[in-house]
């Protein structure tokens, strides 16, 4: 990650300088006047010539303006009074691609509050992510060089304090982006579980269940998805007990589930779909675009990054993350369309399409989660349906919830973090389409409303009374273009959203 520092706002003696310029009659920014004077008004002349007005989203680069500065970058931030945390992040992110030739840079944020200065740092850090471990022949001059960023703040001490938890969030986001970016031959269930284990160093309690343990627990649905692959399935339980200090004994290995009562101190539960590669199975997908299916574990990736975040910033909350990890392959041992599988809840499922496998994985993990943890609430994340992409595109993830309060909290933090959610319906009329002639349910409904029907399927495994939200992130887990704080590729959608949910509503003071 970028090395981020904070210092008092004084004009740097050399190097690159980023100015955050307010949109106003006369351009206004921290250090603008000083830099302008030092360069003999070269900066203001250049900005006028470039018709730069400080509009949010605009920028202007001035090379070697004098005063020993290698470059000055003006980033428009709109009206200062309207600058939100999200807009500050976007401003911070915007300068990163303009600084690839610099090794270090200063951002003048002296006009911003300490929180907003830290948000600028967050945006820059988020945007600087690059997954390049498989590029062996890239020339040094082609690699982005930026490694250090100093944010010049009005209150550098306060800004540094505000940055500490945000740095943990960025680190968590990078955990997720790494996992999601890894190719499927490298990242399979056991490998992903090992990477979870490595997070114990953060103070997480990590437990890994293999096929034997899951078989004893009756995970017939999850294991049916995994049975076509050489790669064994895993379920990983990551616990962070920042409020109580005590982890719940999971007893999974004995094939029995602990009976505990639901209390106000019950943990929050986050559940992720982790299909490390999804061929579709016997109901195989078409070839073009199938490579995208390496990120069919992005829900699990987000849950793991979220747990790393909570531990990293020592959040005062009890939370548990559960991820179901499988590879969905066609083979002689693969599950077939027509198979009937028995889930851990005892409900039977007629599999009509082996490519509707994510919900099978979630069914068992969600059931286990409730039996073992009696959670205060559950949020699951899954790259679940193509239908949600046709409905909402890449703008919003679909949110399905059985609880208006939880849905409202999620919508609010979605707006704040820019990880946007759109609520979609749940209704009996969709649920009916899951009726099977020979089992308790089918795993698909009709051709239409597929995302809603999938959510209804999952809801059948959610105990009544547990507030639950399902986030269908199929359209938002991967970005085909750069945005202000997310470079093209794995977005880690959900990590910042749920981290903020926890911070805003569920941490003890």
């Amino acid at each position: 990650m970028l090395d981020i520092g904070f210092a008092k706002s004084v004009l740097p003696k050399s190097g690159a300088l980023v100015l955050l310029v307010e949109e106003a009659e006369t351009l206004n920014a921290d250090l603008l006047a000083q830099a302008d004077e030092a360069t003999g008004l070269a900066i203001s002349r250049a900005l006028v010539a470039a018709e730069f007005k400080g509009k949010a989203g605009s920028n202007c680069t001035i090379l070697a303006p004098g005063a020993n500065l290698s470059r000055v970058i003006a980033i428009g931030i709109g009206k200062l009074s309207e600058l939100t945390q999200r807009l500050a992040e976007e401003a911070g992110g915007a300068c990163v691609p303009l600084l690839t030739k610099e090794e270090s840079a200063h951002i003048a944020a002296g006009a911003l509050s300490a929180e907003l200065a830290a948000a600028v740092a967050t945006g820059a850090a988020l945007r600087s992510y690059r997954f390049d471990r498989y590029r062996t022949k890239e020339k040094a001059e082609d690699k982005p060089r930026l490694s250090k960023l100093v944010v010049l703040a009005g209150h550098p001490v306060k800004a540094r304090e505000a940055w500490v938890p945000l740095k943990a969030t960025v680190t968590g986001v990078f955990v997720t982006r790494d996992l999601v970016s890894e190719p499927p031959n490298v990242l399979y269930p056991a490998e992903m579980a090992d990477r979870c284990k490595a997070l114990e160093s953060l103070g997480l309690k990590v437990e890994v269940l293999g096929p034997k343990e899951m078989s004893k627990l009756g995970f017939g649905a999850l294991l049916a998805v995994a049975q076509g692959s050489e790669r064994e399935a895993r379920m990983v339980v990551l616990q962070w007990n920042g409020a109580s200090g005590e982890a719940v004994p999971t007893k999974g290995k004995k094939g029995k589930v602990a009976k505990i009562e639901k209390t106000d101190n019950a943990p929050l539960a986050f559940i992720g779909k982790g299909v490390t590669f999804d061929t579709g199975g016997i109901s195989i997908k078409p070839g073009p675009g199938m490579e995208d299916m390496k990120w069919d574990m992005a829900g699990a990736g987000a849950v793991i990054g979220l747990m790393a975040t909570l531990a990293g910033r020592k959040a005062k909350v009890d939370a548990v993350g559960l991820v179901g990890l499988v590879e969905n392959m066609p083979s002689g041992t693969a599950m077939r369309p027509g198979d009937v599988v028995t889930s851990a809840s005892g409900q039977t499922i007629e599999v009509l399409n082996t490519d509707a496998e994510g919900r099978l994985v979630l069914a068992d993990v969600i059931h286990y989660c409730q039996e073992n943890f009696k959670p205060r609430l559950m949020v699951d994340l899954a790259t679940l349906t193509g239908a949600i992409i046709v409905a909402l595109g890449h703008e919003y993830a679909g949110m399905f919830a059985n609880d208006d309060g939880l849905a409202a909290q999620l919508s609010a933090v979605a707006e704040e973090t820019g990880e946007k959610l759109w609520r979609m319906p749940l209704a009996e009329a969709y649920n009916k389409q899951l009726k099977s002639d020979i089992a308790d349910m089918k795993n698909i409904g009709g051709r239409w409303g597929g995302a809603v029907i999938a959510a209804e399927f999952i809801q059948r495994f959610v105990a009544t009374g547990t507030p639950w939200a399902h986030l269908d992130i199929a359209g938002t887990a991967w970005s085909s273009k750069d945005t202000a704080t997310v470079p093209k590729g794995a977005t880690a959608f959900g990590v910042r959203l749920l981290d903020r949910l926890v911070a805003a509503h569920y941490e003890t003071k």
Binding site: G386, A387, E395, A427, W448, G449, V452, I453
Partner: protein, 473 residues
């Protein structure tokens, strides 16, 4: 189908009786109900034949609502529709509940207009319904419900008609009941359309021998307020044009005028119940055909108001005719609210299936009223997103906007709504994408098969709940 209000059942006629959960049963039916395990659960019924006549007990559940009685009426017809005459026993119910019971029965009893030489042996025979009620105000309550029924029936009949009969002019010919009810009808033909500058509507209709029309329906009402305006997509047949659709299920495209039909039906309802609210409907009627004059992908059209559209796909034609109709309606009618209805995208069917229509809006208050009217009438809508995030996909290199995004698996419903939002100016506006809910493949206990008339009762209720109060804020 005729409905008569009376106080007692004619002899030897089957009677349907609504029963709340755990409610009292007629003595003579108790034994049969016990054997059948009937206790009044909503959606269940029990046919008692031991009395020498048919008594159908219909469950309405605990604390029944208007919707429960509507569903019960539908279930009664689903079970007894094979008879020529039935009675609905609503004695003891309030007028509103009795009227809902009857309305549910009428809606479920609708069958499409037939074009047969030989009678259909399987046709539903139901012709007469006796509504038994002694509730004060039942005549007025039924008269309101009947207005909604007549509007829904008109819309359904129009949707069911084949497109050789129901061309744009054929559609207009069938608006006579509106004129009789006091609605004025103005038709803009080609020369007027050209004069007004409705270039998109003209382009879509150019490939067909049946020429496009813009119809203005106006109900004066009694209040001195600007009108509420409905705008309907009326593609009387949609081949897709040069971007032709696959043959599979293309026949369903005769229903691609369901939005316009719903608007016309709603206007009939308002007029029949003498609504106080001034209301207009603007129907954009055209056939999207293939011909030597047909418009092409790549063409640039100039709409009413001057904004230009690059046509990426000629099968995204609904939004083109609506762009003109919406722009024209807003400029010429100065409405206080605009609601358009259109069988617009396949994308909305992927999103919401056949259970709900998609609601898109630039006005939260109006959106909430529309959603509430949908909830009240059982014509459910779900709000979906539009706006800046979807606009970029509609950028054109040579025109103001493109009519759709390139490539497959696009969120086309949101793209289409975002597209339309640019033609409504500052007006408070709701767009209902009713593709997927304009017809039902099969009948069930609550719904007739075929055209639904979706939107008619929603709009009628919206007007009565929102636009008829002279003192509203």
């Amino acid at each position: 189908m005729k409905l008569r209000i009376g106080s007692s059942a004619p002899k030897a006629v089957a009677v349907a009786l609504p029963v709340p959960l755990g409610g009292a049963l007629p003595d003579e039916a108790e034994a049969a109900a016990r054997v059948a395990g009937f206790s009044g659960v909503a959606g269940t019924c029990c046919e008692v034949r031991s009395l020498g006549q048919v008594l159908l007990l219909v469950g309405v559940g605990p604390s029944p609502t208007e919707a429960s009685y509507r569903s019960a009426g539908a279930l009664a017809v689903a079970r007894l529709g094979g008879l020529k005459r039935i009675a609905l026993d609503a004695r003891g119910l309030l007028a509103g509940s009795a009227a809902a019971f009857a309305l549910g029965a009428m809606l479920r009893g609708w069958t499409p207009p037939q074009n047969r030489r030989d009678p259909n042996p399987e046709a539903q025979k139901l012709a007469n319904i006796d509504l038994l009620s002694n509730a004060p105000g039942i005549e007025a309550a039924w008269s309101n419900a009947e207005a909604a029924w007549q509007g829904a029936k008109l819309a359904r009949d129009l949707v069911a008609l084949p497109s050789d009969v129901l061309s744009p002019d054929g559609f207009i010919d069938r608006l006579e009941p509106l004129r009789k009810a006091g609605v004025s009808i103005t038709v803009l033909k080609r020369r007027a359309l050209a004069h007004e500058g409705l270039g998109a509507l003209l382009a879509v209709g150019r490939g067909s021998a049946h020429r496009p029309r813009l119809v203005l329906l106006r109900w004066e009402g009694a209040l001195e307020t600007p009108p509420v305006v409905f705008v309907g997509k009326g593609i009387t047949f949609d081949t897709g044009g040069i971007c032709i659709k696959p043959a599979d299920k293309m026949w369903e495209m005769r229903a691609d005028m369901a939005g316009a039909a719903a608007c016309a039906g709603a206007m009939l309802s308002l007029a029949l119940r003498r609504s106080a609210a001034p209301a207009c409907a603007v129907l954009a009627l055209a056939e999207n055909a293939i011909g030597a004059e047909a418009y092409r992908p790549g063409d640039v059209l100039t709409t009413f108001g001057g904004k230009t559209i690059e046509v990426i796909d000629t099968d995204a034609e609904g939004r083109l005719v609506l762009a003109d109709a919406l722009g024209w309606a807003v400029a010429r009618l100065k409405p206080q609210a605009v609601i358009d209805l259109a069988t617009l995208t396949g994308s909305i069917v992927v999103g919401l299936g056949h259970e709900m229509g998609g609601l898109f809006s630039n006005d939260d208050a109006l959106a909430a009223y529309v959603a509430a009217a949908g909830e009240a009438t059982g014509e459910l809508v779900w709000r979906m997103p539009l706006g800046a995030g979807y606009r970029e996909a509609l950028n054109s290199d040579i025109a103001d906007i493109a009519n759709c995004a390139k490539g497959r698996y696009q969120p086309d419903a949101s793209h289409a709504a975002t597209f339309l939002s640019e033609f409504v100016g500052e007006a408070a506006w709701v767009h209902l994408d009713i593709a997927g809910v304009e017809a039902r493949e099969a009948a069930d206990d609550r719904h007739a098969a075929g055209a639904t008339g979706f939107g008619v009762r929603l709009l009628d209720r919206l007007v009565s709940q929102r636009f008829e109060d002279p003192h509203r804020a």
